[in-house]
Amino acid sequence: MNKLAFACSMLAIVVVAAWAYNVNYRTATALDRVEALRTKIAAEREHIQVLEVEWAWLNNPDRLARLVAMNADRLGLGPMTLRHFGRVAAVPFPPEPEPMLVGMGAVEDGELAAGLAMADGSAVMPPPRPAAKARP
């Protein structure tokens, strides 16, 4: 019985020690990974900052004004004046399109199946058919 207890407790020590050291090494590895990620994050942040500064340089209002002036013939931009303001309500709705083809007003399945036809009866396009089934 003592020998058994002795053996079990030795085994217990070994197991617990192994587990403790395992956790220790895994933690160390995780910390290394955190450090590496932190360095990467810092590098990415720096990269983002450089891009932001570059974006701001390129969008400098003076630079944009110079570009507009250089490309004035292609862009044709003019200064915004008071006459460029209007009311949405004053914009007219587009007119109703003239029905050019017979049956365009309200298309029902039967009419669609029959195909769309010109007023004189000649077919404009064949009736729609489902796409061919994909082969397995």
């Binding site: 910390l31 932190r38 932001e52 974006w55 400098n60 003076d62 008071l82």
Partner: protein, 576 residues
């Protein structure tokens, strides 16, 4: 037989007992050791378990101090970058490790042509352990130096502060100077402007990734600066200042001062008079006698106290004699003018009489509550030093002259804040450079007096000296001020003026204050040179409003004789 057996092995029960007893006696020691080990590892396991069950926290790493301290970015109210950081390099040398210093100096002079070769040679032959060669250097220069392959030349990383908007926001942002320099970092400290005022917040490692949002709108700032630069050149002025305030929040949407500088370049030495220094922020620091722009403030005081109404007649026919001096008007005025006409026709005598009605103690207190007796509280490091210049003894004569803007020197920012207070329905406006502003403060004048003032200012632009500031549809109201410049020896120049136009728009529902000040402008378009603000500053205000209104999304209002109610509703900007 037993004795013989006694000398040999122990046999029998006593021996058995002992053999049985020996393991027991040593057993407990072993058991104790095992128990101790188990306890130790058990404790470790338990504490690990507790840690696993508790709050997860960022591991504190030993070498996280090597991360470079960065400086927070500054952006405008729309998020456009105004001050950012770029990684750069600096070049240093260990002269003791350099084998051929003169050749290295020649090679370096080829890469950095603006430094003489002798300077490099002197540094490299000095025998010191460490010497800075050049900081900062561009990546291209770094590559060229690297390609030389010389031992003893090393690079350190550092951060450079860049201002993509350039000179447009120069005075507002200020600049930076190196505070602490190490080999692998520089700590920058703000020098002037917002960089200096917010230095601690920008350098705070906790808030480095949160950009500081200013109230400035870069688009409006650029327009204001461009129009003013154009005007200053055309009018051959020394310089000028412009301030655009949002009346409801006190946010400074644009603040320009010319001449200005490019904050990306290192500070240039300036050896002219101090007030012509490009680094001098005229809008916030310049103290000028602002002239007739003070008259509406005087009238507002009288209206608020109930002493007059806009149509009350004031005696303006004869000059006033006070303290051995005469107060008179430049142009002949009728014997009486309504308060409204005193403003519209800009009568000094009328303003002086209004000030006397208010009385010196109340007038001085009123100007104090408007902010004219103390420096502006705006977030610029140098603003705290710009106390308005007051008369050493404030007598009745002082009140009379101050009523039309002479005798008290304040900044255009002070004036803008005061007009903002009147435009705001009478509640104090405190200018702020932070997005969001400070909101209206305590009540200074009654809403009725403020509304009456807005009407009077509108009259000035409709029918008075401010005609050239008009932009149809924006109901600009304002006041011109042409103040003779003070001559240092005493007295005033007769051919040099400070021309100011202080405006509010739209007066039917005031939203913005725009103040433009010019230093010694001269309009030579006509037959004789003209210096009045009505011909110099007022047209600039018109041009600025014409250009910024579409950017701000302000739609023009119908002419004032149409329905006012619908106009007020549609005067709100389309989007903020």
């Amino acid at each position: 037989m037993t004795e013989l057996a006694g000398h040999g092995r122990h046999v029998g029960r006593p021996a058995d007992d002992r053999r049985a007893r020996i393991p027991q006696r040593d057993d407990w020691r072993l058991f104790l050791v095992i128990l101790a080990f188990l306890l130790a590892y058990g404790l470790v396991g338990v504490s690990m378990g507790l840690m696993a069950l508790g709050e997860p926290a960022e591991p504190r790493l030993a070498h996280s101090g090597l991360l470079k301290p960065a400086r927070g970015e500054i952006v405008d109210r729309n998020g456009t970058l105004l001050a950012g950081n770029l990684p750069a390099w600096s070049l240093y040398a260990h002269p003791r490790e350099i084998k051929e210093p003169l050749e290295v100096a020649a090679e370096l002079a080829a890469i950095f042509p603006d430094t003489p070769e002798a300077a490099f040679a002197r540094k490299l032959t000095s025998g010191a352990a460490f010497v800075w060669i050049r900081r900062p250097i561009t990546p291209r220069q770094k590559q060229l130096v690297h390609d030389l392959g010389r031992p003893g030349l090393n690079f350190g990383s550092r951060t450079v502060r860049v201002y993509p908007a350039g000179a447009a926001t120069a005075h507002v942002i200020g600049g930076v100077k190196p505070a602490k320099e190490g080999v692998h970092f520089t700590e920058l400290a703000g020098a002037g402007g917002a960089e200096a005022y917010f230095d601690r917040r920008l350098g705070d490692p906790e808030r480095v990734h949160e950009p500081l949002a200013l109230s400035i709108d870069l688009r409006l700032q650029t327009v204001m600066r461009e129009v003013m630069a154009d005007g200053i050149e055309r009018l051959t002025a020394n310089g000028g200042a412009g301030v655009l305030l949002d009346v409801r929040t006190g946010e400074v949407l644009a603040m320009a001062s010319l001449p200005d500088f490019d904050p990306n370049l290192p500070p240039q030495a300036f050896d002219g008079p101090a007030h012509l220094n490009p680094r001098f922020n005229r809008a916030a620091l310049g103290r000028y006698e602002l002239g007739s722009t003070f008259k509406p403030l005087t009238a507002a005081a009288a209206l608020d106290l109930g002493l007059v109404r806009p149509d009350t007649l004031v005696e303006t026919g004869s000059p006033i004699r006070a303290g051995g001096r005469w107060i008179r008007d430049l142009h002949a005025m009728p014997s009486h003018l309504t308060v409204s006409d005193v403003i519209r026709r800009s009568s000094n005598v009328g303003a002086a009489r209004l000030a006397m009605m208010v009385g010196t103690p109340r007038f001085k207190d009123y100007l104090g509550r408007l902010g004219f007796l103390e420096p502006s509280a705006i977030e610029l490091s140098e603003a705290a030093r710009a106390e308005p210049l007051l008369p050493p003894k404030w007598t009745d004569l002082s009140s009379m002259t101050i009523s039309y803007g002479h005798g008290l020197a304040a900044s255009p920012l002070h004036l803008a804040a005061a007009y903002g207070t009147l435009a705001n329905g009478g509640r104090r406006v405190r200018p702020s450079l932070l997005r969001g502003g400070t909101g209206p403060g305590e009540r200074i004048v009654s809403p009725e007096a403020a509304a009456a003032m807005m009407e009077m200012l509108r009259e000035v632009v409709r029918n008075g000296t401010g005609r050239r500031a008009e932009v149809p549809g924006y109901r600009i109201g304002g006041k011109t001020g042409t103040a003779d410049k003070y001559r240092p020896g005493g007295g005033y120049y007769d051919d040099r003026v400070i021309a100011t136009f202080a405006s509010v728009f739209p007066t039917s529902d005031p939203a913005y204050v725009l103040v433009v000040t010019l230093d010694e402008p001269t309009n030579r378009e006509g037959s004789r040179p003209v210096r009045e603000a009505s011909r110099t500053a007022a047209p600039l205000v018109s041009e600025i409003v014409r250009r910024i209104a579409p950017i701000m999304g302000l739609r023009p209002l119908p002419p004032e004789d149409e329905q006012a109610e619908t106009a007020v509703a549609s005067a709100r900007p389309a989007s903020d």
